[in-house]
């Protein structure tokens, strides 16, 4: 990494970033609801060069049985990167990083899903990162939320996600892989746009108190952009022709 920092301009004098974006501009985002035949719900997202597929099963019987809860259904999330998702082949066995991300995504979705109506069942969310380019957890969370809605799992709200960060002493939206490696801070945010609640929040990197607040604001604004795209994906599938 050390050598690359010097040659790459993260932010030029006109406020244009290394991939040509403005500071408050997300990468190209495309979401498609549905697509998998066997899953109860599914979604595919392209978030810049990230390509992620999510399948949802359930509510269904819980295996192993001892995990089931007589008061409520349970949510289980597996975030997984396929071996060819990154430049150097990734060992397909789940890493500690993937286990942690699975947990934060699960906890970001839990405030939205209403599983008390399905005691003794489980909803399984399987996230497969097919191609990774920085910001996979946000892209994965956004797609997972669409897949859950597609499966008809009752939800209080959608969860949209986008990262904010600090690059070349400037707060920017949607940090890409280069900016994450060479930048100063990365703050992934998951947000329920109607309930105005932050359900995923992490930060690596140093921010002043003012920059911290600004990052949260920029990230939340980014989530609202992602939310509109999620909405459109569901509308396209369900209200496609004859819809308003």
């Amino acid at each position: 990494m050390g050598g690359r920092d010097a040659t790459m301009v993260l932010l030029d004098e006109n406020g244009i970033r290394c991939d040509g974006r403005k500071v408050d501009e997300p990468r190209r985002i495309m979401i498609k609801a549905g697509g998998l035949k066997n899953a109860d719900g599914s979604a595919y997202i392209e978030f810049g060069d990230n390509k992620i597929l999510v399948g949802v099963f359930g509510p269904r019987d819980v295996h192993p049985k001892h995990m089931s809860n007589t008061d409520t259904g349970i949510l289980r999330v597996r975030y997984h990167m396929v071996p060819f998702s990154v430049g150097e082949r990734k060992n397909p066995a789940p890493s500690r990083r993937e286990i942690e991300i699975s947990k934060v995504i699960k906890e970001a979705l839990e405030p939205a899903v209403m599983l008390d109506k399905f005691p003794r069942t489980a909803v399984d969310v399987f996230i497969e990162v097919l191609q990774a380019d920085g910001g996979t957890r946000c892209a994965a969370l956004s797609a997972a939320s669409v897949a859950l809605a597609d499966a008809g799992i009752p939800m209080r709200d959608m969860v949209a996600a986008c990262a904010a960060g600090k690059v070349a002493d400037t707060v920017v939206l949607d940090v890409n892989n280069e900016e994450d490696q060479a930048g100063q801070a990365d703050m992934p945010i998951g947000y329920m746009p109607n309930l105005e609640k932050i359900t995923l929040l992490q930060l690596d990197g140093v921010l002043t108190s003012e920059e911290y607040k600004k990052c949260v604001q920029v990230g939340v604004d980014g989530c609202k952009i992602v939310y509109d795209i999620q909405k459109k994906a569901l509308q396209d599938k369900y209200f496609g022709n004859g819809g308003d």
Partner: protein, 226 residues
């Protein structure tokens, strides 16, 4: 589409008025929000969302089509396309003097058999209890199984049964619709069978389209190899 009905996704505000929240909506502060993808409907004093996706949730008295998964010496388990399996006790078939020693369950229903059943009891603490001891219920011997989304069942039946009657009349098929989205179609003529199945699949895919009845009618009346 009048302004009372809206396409909604989870989190969308259906209304803020003083209405009673019913199916698939939740009261949050002074807003009533949708909890699923569907079409919202506001009545005189209540609000609900008719879902366009989702698994079948058993309701007492629903007619369902079930498939026998397995049995013990006392009961059968039925796949009813839900998050819970249907529980069919042996007494329901053999009567009160059922004896676990003398009566062999497999002699009446085997794994893989289809049955028309009714949900007799369901309270979420236990798997739904089903019965097949009533008129029109019991083992299904002939017909093709078509699987549709349980949320599209009301559309397949249509207002006062208009849609399903139209399909049956046009094809001479006998159609049994389970509320769980499983539909059994039987018909003497192979063309009628194919057409009826095609019509059912059309409803499944285009349930939200406004002039669906006309489209299905057109398809049924068309002469063709399809």
């Amino acid at each position: 589409m009048d302004n009372k009905r809206k396409y909604v996704i989870p989190g969308d505000v259906v209304t803020t008025g003083p209405f009673r929240p019913e199916q698939n909506v939740e009261l949050q502060g002074n807003k009533i929000i949708s909890t699923t993808i569907g079409i919202s409907e506001i009545y005189d004093d209540s609000v609900k969302v008719i879902p366009l996706t989702g698994k079948y949730i058993p309701k007492i008295n629903d007619l369902v089509i079930g498939k026998v998964i397995s049995h013990t010496s006392l009961s059968w388990e039925l796949d009813i396309n839900s998050c819970y399996v249907g529980f069919l006790p042996a007494q329901d078939v053999f009567g009160r003097d059922f004896s676990a020693h003398a009566d062999e369950l497999a002699s009446k229903l085997k794994s893989g058999d289809l049955v028309a059943a009714r949900i007799a009891n369901f309270d979420r603490t236990r798997d739904p209890l089903v019965t097949i001891s009533d008129r029109d219920l019991g083992k299904i011997d002939t017909g093709d199984l078509v699987k549709i989304s349980p949320s599209k069942v009301p559309r397949l039946i249509g207002k006062r049964g208009t849609m399903i009657q139209m399909i049956e009349m046009a094809t001479d098929a006998a159609i049994t619709i389970g509320q769980n989205g499983w539909v059994v179609v039987s018909c003497e003529s192979p063309e009628g069978l194919l057409k009826a199945k095609k019509a059912i699949e059309m409803v499944n895919e285009k349930a939200h389209v406004a002039n669906l009845t006309d489209q299905v009618k057109e398809m049924l009346e068309s002469k063709g190899e399809s």
